[in-house]
Symmetry: C2
Subunit: 558 residues, 2 copies
């Protein structure tokens, strides 16, 4: 059977080598297209429809239970899919039984299987995208790109980094040294040994982007994976688990190397999985509060986390405001700012923003930004493509509360209003809330407000703005930052400050690329230097702890 | 000033490149000689003598306090050295103040400084060795080799691995991608950012071997270091801190990047250092009990630990017993088995050990091993060179307790008797205790008995012996294992079992190399797969977590 898997290594070697090169040079590359043909899109939609209201066949431990928490943000209807419900113990034991064959497989065999899983998922891109839309609430385009090809790229990147780390350990060495007058020659063997069972906890609104790298990094390095999706956003993850199990079984490995652990909002099991005595690795994506708990309590398991942050925009000085306002508006609207990279806090100097056409007061800047936002959120077809739907009803509740708080203090520049989705009348939607506040209103903006909410913050000057934003990043977490300035020295200072605060900073970007686009192979995602998470996609430390090295020595034959 | 440090990178580049090659091929290499001239030895001894009874000048925070716990195992006399006593807070604040210049230095600059520190320590090898002898109790030969050149090799290895990991992060990239019909080109900058202040806690009997890699891995990656030696074994570590500070200052960096934190047995400060809010990395070598506490409580700091284990020898079948018995005896005697790699539990089959000359019963084997031990421990000049001295009086107390327990259950084959040291009449010495027990006596042998104590354990057969030994390794920790068999299939099974249990196994080794010799660049030390520690010298995971990567992006100039 392993011959088949070894063929998979050869089959995907060109992609692996290109991915390795991209990780080194950090240039632009993707193994996957974002596009599907109309026929494929139709077939994917039909495959999705055929799964609704039925048991999802995974042939893993557990009896089918309807997932009542899983409701489409577009239709408001429960998908009605039943997933196998099994206790953490049963899944852990199944993983432990499946482990030895995978543990003892050659790393190249495992890497081949992992890359085949990526190809298999991509071959069903349209079906996965339909599942993403109706769980995460993303637009069809984002479901195909961000949650499809880009997420798979981050997965391939993790496989490549894991492969490189394992390849740096030689399989054998002959070693000779003099002791006194005699030479001793030893033959040494080194083995890459996986750490043990890995638990992956995925988030609700963008599960694939972090779960794929986590699953694949653990699998490639030889660890079984138990994947726990968010109870409101299961289907895409169930499809991924199905693809993993299918490829594993085809190649003679026990499919229980990857299982799905489904829970409900009423009866969560994440703590049981993290605390299970067999758990050795935890990858978590989700709230900062639970992420902190995972980091503090995963021991003896290793924890890799990505949570959330307060991402800032520093507007110091502009030549031409239009492109900047459009870029900011696009980023504030993109997937209703339900991304960990979405900006939230936009600082402007109290004296106004210098531009080629004169000073823009904070108020003028905020209202101009509001107009740019409404040019998206006020046009349903554009709004559907950019804002898409709101994953959780709780986000609207929080947005409403925040609106009340902000109205009492600052100025509401843009009211968060639902837009009518042209295709799904029942879609849960909201345009952004934009409020103009003062730097003193730190209780309003000094934490992450998940979802479509942003603040234009009047600071005394750009120095104060930078200090405040970098300090919030260090204290409360941040993943991205953005600066706009005509002064090189200000951009340099901002880059230095954010290098210490541990968030990626992008300066003076306008144009067609979404500001918070993060490119696999090129952009490190999360630094681990602030509370927005301790793991980075994909640095060496994301992969090197998932395996250990054992060795044996024997005298060389004379 | 930095020009000087950059010259250091060039000065040591040949060593760095040879070290990198050795890490890849894992062949035999050392950057340092074990030998000193008689003149240098004399000068070293005089330099050591000149430090006794006086303040140790480090010019760091703290007022000099005599270190009453530091007593020579050879003379029984307190060294009387006063070290600067400072609270953890003062040292942490000094490190924090010193950090920015080092953090912002180029990684190659830091690597050059680290390699210069190694060269500086080696240039004073004899003085360091005298300090090691009179704190750890090692022989002069081991103080020069194991605690000198070998320990520095492990340090250079850590620097090389850290360098390689940092070099894998490019400093800059130009990235171009199409968005719709427009191309976006970004210039990206990536920075290696150190994690923060590193606390290194060293052990009493072999401090340099783990402290050098820890200090140098953290320093090379940009982190300040606070080094806390064991209160009974300070002087070698104080000399090392002095060398670090000297080289840092010469190259324009604040010497407080490396400070010494001295405590006493009565007022330990390790928990305060580990729990200090500024601590980001902890390297610990010492007891399993405190190591477990460090692993569980270091968060949010990363913890790298090496503690202890129950190392086993599986005697299945032999051709010629003599060389095996001599090799085992040598390893049981080496530094009175005060090494984390020393074997303790020697399993033999109940039916006897097959040899070319017939079966050796367990009793015959044990008494023959006892004779081989006494051929070392009973000859003072050999004993002084091999057994050296016992670092802690507590080790003799525990040995005495164990002797009582073993006498009540099995047979004492060799009584643990002091030998008269030919040079130091007051030396604290003990030959090994060797007891013959049954596999059922797990309470006696199923834990680490630190110091010169070993068991010959009668098992039903070699399969049971392997299962017991591997299970103890997994449950209680083990770093090394040794197998002797004429059956290839038994050796293969033992290697497989220990790969899973996470200890290095050496088979059929006899001859001049000490069984538990661990070669820098070639032997991975500790796997992290069992309770003997979570860190490995030196795999990628030992270095990659000590720094993070931050990035900035700007549109490329048109």
């Amino acid at each position: 059977m392993k011959v088949v898997a070894e063929d998979l290594y050869g089959k995907h070697l060109a992609i692996l080598e290109r991915a390795l090169a991209a990780c080194r040079t950090r240039d632009s590359w993707s193994a996957f297209t974002d596009h599907v043909t109309p026929e494929a899109r139709q077939a994917g939609a039909e495959a999705f429809q055929a799964r609704l209201g039925r048991p999802f066949d995974l042939d893993q431990p557990g009896v089918p239970v309807p997932q009542e928490d899983e409701v489409s943000p577009y239709t408001g209807e429960c998908l009605g899919v039943s997933y196998p419900a099994a206790g953490p113990g049963a899944l852990m034991e199944a993983a432990a039984r499946a482990w030895p064959a995978w543990r003892d497989a050659h790393p190249r065999t495992r890497v081949g299987v992992c890359l085949e899983i990526c190809a298999r998922i991509h071959a069903r891109a349209a079906e996965f995208a339909a599942a993403t839309m109706h769980t995460a609430g993303q637009s069809h385009g984002m479901s195909l790109a961000g949650s499809g090809s880009n997420a798979l790229d981050r997965g391939v990147e993790a496989v490549a980094m894991a492969y490189a780390a394992m390849e740096r350990v030689p399989e054998r060495a002959r070693w000779t040294r003099e002791f006194g007058t005699a030479a001793v020659t030893l033959d040494k063997r080194y083995r890459v040994m996986p750490r043990g069972i890995a638990v992956v906890i995925a988030c609700a609104s963008f599960p694939a982007w972090n779960a794929y790298p986590a699953i694949l990094a653990s699998l490639a390095t030889g660890n079984p994976v138990v994947l726990k999706p968010h109870p409101t956003s299961v289907l895409q993850m169930a499809l991924a688990v199905g693809a993993c199990r299918e490829v594993l079984a085809e190649n003679g490995f026990p499919p229980d190397l990857v299982t799905l652990a489904v829970d409900s909002a009423a009866r969560p099991i994440a703590r049981h999985l993290v605390g299970h005595p067999l758990t050795r690795i935890v990858d978590f994506t989700g709230s900062a509060a639970f992420g902190s708990w995972v980091e503090a309590n995963a021991f003896p398991a290793l924890a890799y986390t990505e949570t959330s942050g307060v991402n800032a925009v520093l507007v110091d000085s502009l030549t031409e405001p239009g492109p900047v306002l459009r870029a900011l508006a696009g980023s504030l609207c993109l997937f209703s700012a339900q991304m960990c990279t979405s900006p939230q806090n936009i600082y402007v100097p109290r004296r106004g923003v210098p531009t080629a056409g004169g000073l823009l007061t904070p108020e003028e800047f905020a209202y101009a930004l509001g107009e740019a936002i409404k040019a998206i959120s006020g046009v349903p077809r554009r709004a559907a493509a950019v804002l898409a739907a709101v994953q959780s009803p709780g986000t609207l509740t929080l947005l409403d509360q925040l609106r009340g708080q902000a109205a009492g203090r600052g100025k509401i520049v843009v009211e968060p209003e639902a837009y009518p989705h042209p295709e799904y009348p029942a879609a849960r939607t909201s345009g952004p809330l934009l409020a103009l506040v003062d730097v003193a209103d730190h209780d309003l903006y000094g934490q992450e407000r998940f979802g479509p909410a942003a603040f234009v913050i009047t600071a005394d000057d750009s120095g104060q703005a930078l200090a405040r934003a970098a300090s919030d990043a260090a204290a409360h977490g941040a993943i991205t930052a953005f600066a706009y300035s005509t002064r090189e020295d200000f951009l340099d200072r901002a880059e230095d400050a954010y290098a210490v605060a541990g968030a990626a900073i992008t300066s003076n970007l306008t144009g067609p690329m979404p500001l918070n686009f993060s490119a696999a192979y090129s952009d490190y995602h999360v630094t681990g230097l602030n509370p927005a998470g301790n793991a980075s996609l994909t640095d060496d430390s994301f992969v090197t702890g998932r395996f250990r090295v054992t060795q044996s020595r024997r005298p060389a034959p004379r």
